[in-house]
């Protein structure tokens, strides 16, 4: 059976860098940080008091009051990003085959805020079990693709993907593979997360995963810098329309680029720490490039997971050097998390968009906040430090890695 080709025909994003894809891209290129003191709850007693929140967010700008009640913030971000992507794609929902249109969505956690509120209500309410009937359907991570399918009538494959911070990359990978296999023509894919709450920040603080640079939030996310001290938690959602190539051509769609690879692997090493030599990371990139026999020399840009944690950043660069050899010095590498923060389950979709727009615009978004490079890192690597760089990008690869040792990579290529 001949595998189908897959192209990108729509994008949507609501992120700490703005409420649209344009704002996201402009701020990425201009090196703007999305970090600021936490407003979603009183963080006085928390080790970390800042985050990359979606700014000035008011749910009733997007949903009526009754809808808001049924949608955890992570699902709200999903609906907003999906709507933008559908609009951008120009898909005519009246004429497409809805049985061949699906939704695969990533969320690392899901409705954490809802879980927290309902359990708090139970404990504070004298342990009388008065849980809301919306508790479970608001909280479960797969409810976002459920809501999206109901809104657009997409009756094809539909599920949520959970692999912590690799979730939305895994979602995009699954959508890509199902189109290749002919199981669907169109997918709304991507991911969303809303973990900036007491449970999320407190939980990650307990793991010592978050930066505590409270005196200077905007420089806290500093991948590859000598003084990096953890990631900056972010929130938001990003959506991508993947479409079977012939289907897109037939309807005269605007095509951003082609998706040419998806890799998946595990470290099989530790719950939260990466394999020190980046074994799983090297394997996942290799596997993604193998889908279309793309040689490492063809890769112009790697958007790294690069979360600004001491162990993770070094292990990932080791993996890149191991796999790419000399090409590691010729290509651009950057961590856009230096600006967006780490959107957990949504981060892969945001970074896939960064790759897609790097191809489209011929610009590599930078790794900001590099004051002094970690001496453990090879200074000959082009980490796109502090300033965007112009470059004709033919092939771009995005990595994401999740707690549990999950690794996922996706590869995009300029249309010929």
């Amino acid at each position: 059976m001949e595998l189908k080709r897959v192209v990108v025909t729509g994008l949507g994003a609501i992120t700490p860098l703005g409420g649209s894809v344009d704002e996201l891209w402009n701020n990425l290129v201009n090196g703007v940080s999305g970090a600021a003191p936490i407003t979603r709850f009183d963080a006085t007693n928390f080790k970390t008091k800042f985050a990359c929140e979606v700014k000035n967010y008011n749910p009733t700008d997007f949903f009526d009051r009754k809808e808001v009640k049924k949608l955890d913030l992570f699902a709200q971000f999903a609906m907003i990003a999906a709507e933008q992507a559908i609009q951008d794609s120009g898909l005519n929902l009246e004429t497409i085959d809805q049985d061949m249109a699906g939704v695969i969505w990533g969320a690392g956690i899901g409705g954490l805020q809802t879980f927290q509120e309902e359990v708090k209500g139970y404990v504070n309410g004298g342990a009388i079990p008065r849980f809301s009937p919306f508790f479970i359907p608001k909280m479960i991570a797969d409810i976002a693709p459920g809501h999206i399918s109901i809104k657009y009538g997409f009756r094809g494959p539909n599920f949520g993907v959970v692999s912590a911070c690799a979730s939305s990359t895994n979602a995009i990978a699954d959508a890509y593979n199902l189109i290749r296999l002919g199981k669907a023509n169109i997918f709304i894919t991507g991911g969303s997360e809303a973990g900036v709450n007491e449970a999320g920040v407190g939980g990650f603080n307990a793991l010592q995963a978050l930066s505590t640079r409270n005196d200077d939030p905007q420089t806290a996310s500093r991948p590859f810098d000598k003084d990096r001290d953890g990631f900056v938690i972010g929130e938001g959602g990003a959506a991508i329309i993947l479409e079977e190539y012939e289907h897109a051509v037939k309807r005269g769609a605007k095509i951003y680029c082609e998706m040419i690879g998806a890799g998946m692997s595990a470290d099989a090493y530790h719950l939260t720490a990466p394999h020190p030599e980046g074994l799983g990371a090297a394997n996942v990139m290799k596997s993604a490039l193998q889908d279309n026999n793309t040689p490492v020399e063809a890769v112009d840009y790697v958007n790294v997971h690069g979360t600004s944690t001491p162990l993770g950043d070094v292990a990932e660069l080791k993996a890149i050097q191991k796999l790419f050899g000399e090409q590691a010095y010729k290509m651009n590498i950057s961590s856009t998390k230096s600006m967006t923060g780490h959107l957990l389950g949504a981060t892969g979709a945001v970074e896939a968009i960064a790759c897609i727009l790097a191809i489209q615009n011929g610009i590599i978004p930078p790794t900001i906040n590099n004051f002094e490079l970690d001496p453990e890192i090879d200074p000959k690597l082009n980490l796109t430090l502090n300033k965007a760089q112009k470059r004709d990008v033919n092939v771009a690869l995005s990595n994401t890695f999740g707690f549990g040792g999950h690794n996922a990579s996706v590869v995009f290529k300029k249309m010929n």
Binding site: D64, R65, K66, K69, K70, R130, S132, P133, F134, P137
Partner: protein
Amino acid sequence: MSDVASRVKAIIVDKLGVDENEVTPQASFTNDLGADSLDTVELIMEFEKEFNIAIPDDQAEKIGTVGDAINYITENAK
């Protein structure tokens, strides 16, 4: 309007996001006020909380309109 009626209406307006003048005694939660099965369960729970009563499931099933709710609560609230 009785105290019970006004409190019941306030809950319905809040939870179903409907206009106050739609909430007539004859109005059916599902047919007139746009509630689905989960909304109805939530309404019953809110009545229980507001009036500090327990509405058994077999009674809850019979509460289909605004008037049904007001009558049940008026008879059963302490």
